[in-house]
């Protein structure tokens, strides 16, 4: 088993309360399914939109990140999967695709010699 991080990028919230609730329930169902199959190492956290970026030797602090809305990372999850192919396959069940978002699947680098 290897570990992967899902980074959730973008994804619009629906405008109708009913559909937002359905959207949320789809996410919960997806996490539940992944969890039951033993693929969730850490469900992770949602992230606030804003924040600060500290950069350079002068440690300049700016507001940010100023990514396009569709690229903003809204949360992350730590996943266990056989290999990258399986991690990608599992990510396809994510409800974020219904609202034009993306999942970035990144293998966690491990300490092998």
């Amino acid at each position: 088993m290897s570990e992967f991080v899902y980074l959730y990028r973008g994804g619009e919230a629906e405008r109708s309360p009913e559909r937002m609730q359905q959207q949320m329930q789809r996410w919960m169902a997806w996490f539940k399914e992944l969890g039951e199959k033993g693929h969730i190492k850490d469900i992770g956290h949602p992230l606030e939109g804003g924040g600060k970026v500290v950069r350079g030797t002068k440690k300049t602090v700016t507001d940010g990140p100023f990514a396009e809305a569709k690229d903003v990372i809204g949360g992350f999850t730590l996943i266990q999967a056989r290999d990258l192919d399986q991690a990608v396959e599992l990510s396809k069940g994510c409800p974020i695709f219904e609202t034009e978002g993306a999942v970035e699947v990144r293998p966690v680098r491990i300490m092998n010699m």
Binding site: A13, R15, S16, P17, E18, R19, M20, Q21, Q23, M24, Q25, W27, M28, F31, I43, G44, H45, P46, G74, G75
Partner: protein, 435 residues
């Protein structure tokens, strides 16, 4: 835990109502933004952490905190509700005041204030209903359009205009003023009645949408009845009417999803609990001197609910109730229903005579069941060719696939190759009722 059905939708109405009271009617759009924001937070957090123990309280708390942010940030730039007045100026008074607004008793009343504010006399009835559905029931523009079988653009226009009128009223409706309350109550009743009817008789073919509209109307009626000034005999009568009609919803479609006429429905599928509730409400409505159209309509529904079969229905009482209803609120649809009841009692020929005698029958020209009733009576009188013409006319005004299927079957039944009909339209007796 799983959130309850329509949690967001119902909370949307509660939150918008309370926030509008704090921000003032002219800031309705701001209130809606804060609500949207609270839902976005819930969506983001709950999907990772699960639904909290008390989701309503969580959402309300989130809305309250956002409201405080907005008030602090914009207290100099905007004017808010006049009731808030000077309380805004000091942090010492601001937070406790907002806290008070978010107490559960106030939230309940705010929904009533909103309900009454949505029904000002200068707003057309259909706009009042759309506004209630949108603001208090949390339906998006698309969802309202689906419920009314209209287009997004048409409904958006209607709601935008209605909101403008709403926002231009001087203040939130004051439900503490007994006189104002009583004066506005009939308009609120009417709007909720229309909301219910849209679900019950409306053109939408999707039964889920229909049931939801009926449930929303009943939920708002329960809120209204919970207020001392709102628990009038007319409120009980309207609630009784809704329960007794809603009880029949499960019987309206048969197992293959086809429309079933009232007289042809499997009565064992009617909801006995709702019938019982309707009876109780009808009893409660029988006080005071006022006899409203809701009393009469609820009584008619009760006579149907009390009859073990179509044949054993007390048609005499139903005709009498329709007579009184016609006197109170003359309408060609009521007259049509009365004619149908008379036909049940005195045979199809009398039904045709009564339909021919309806004043303003031209207003029924686009109503499919007007033509269907004529078709059925002609058919029963042994004139299938004439009947087929009427059913054809009915088919031409069918409003959804269910009605179309139902009427197509009736047209087919009139052709000489078809064995005697088994299905009835809403308009007809299985056999002419003997007196």
């Amino acid at each position: 835990m799983e959130p309850s059905d329509h949690l967001f939708r119902h909370e949307a109405g509660r939150m918008v109502a309370t926030l509008t009271r704090i921000f003032g009617v002219h800031n309705l759009a701001l209130a809606e933004d804060v609500v949207q924001d609270a839902f976005c937070r819930a969506l983001e957090v709950w999907k990772f952490r699960g639904v909290p123990e008390n989701p309503s309280a969580w959402l309300m708390m989130t809305a309250k905190n956002r409201a405080l942010d907005v008030l602090r940030r914009e207290r100099t730039a905007r004017t808010f509700a006049p009731e808030l007045g000077r309380l805004l100026e000091s942090e010492w008074t601001l937070a406790p005041a907002v806290e008070e607004f978010f107490s559960s008793k106030e939230i309940q009343d705010d929904q009533l204030r909103m309900m009454f504010s949505c029904c000002p006399p200068r707003l057309p009835e259909e706009a009042q209903v759309a506004l209630i559905l949108h603001i208090l029931c949390g339906f998006s523009v698309d969802e309202v359009a689906a419920a009314f079988v209209s287009t997004h653009d048409a409904i958006e226009k209607r709601i935008t205009r209605a909101k403008k009128i709403f926002a231009s009223s001087k203040r939130f409706f004051d439900i503490a003023d007994a006189q104002d309350f009583a004066a506005r109550l009939p308009a609120v009743h009417r709007a909720l009645y229309l909301l219910f009817n849209e679900g019950y008789h409306g053109a939408s073919s999707e039964s889920a949408v229909r049931v939801e509209l009926c449930q929303e109307a009943m939920r708002l009626m329960a809120l209204l009845r919970a207020h001392p000034l709102g628990s009038t005999p007319a409120s009980y009568a309207l609630s009784a009417l809704m329960s007794l009609h809603a009880a029949r919803l499960p019987g309206r479609l048969d197992s293959s999803g086809d429309l079933r006429a009232l007289l042809d429905q499997d009565r064992s599928r009617w909801d006995a609990r709702l019938v019982e509730e309707g009876e109780k409400l009808l009893e409660l409505s029988a006080s005071g001197p006022e006899l409203t159209e809701y009393h009469l309509e609820a009584s008619i529904a009760w006579v149907h609910a009390a009859a073990p079969s179509a044949e054993e229905t007390n048609w005499e009482m139903i005709v009498e109730l329709y007579d009184r209803l016609l006197a109170l609120r003359p309408s060609p649809v009521v007259a049509l229903n009365r004619a149908i009841a008379i036909a049940q009692r005195e045979g199809p020929q009398r039904g045709i005579e009564e339909i021919r005698a309806i004043a303003n029958a031209d207003r029924l020209a686009a109503y499919p069941f007007y033509h269907a009733a004529l078709g059925e009576f002609e058919f029963r009188s042994g004139r299938p060719e004439i009947a087929a013409e009427h059913f054809g006319a009915a088919l031409a005004c069918a409003r959804n696939p269910m009605e179309r299927r139902f009427l197509q079957q009736r047209v087919t039944a009139c052709s000489p190759d078809t064995p005697p009909a088994t299905a009835d339209t809403p308009a007809t007796p299985r056999r002419p009722a003997a007196r």
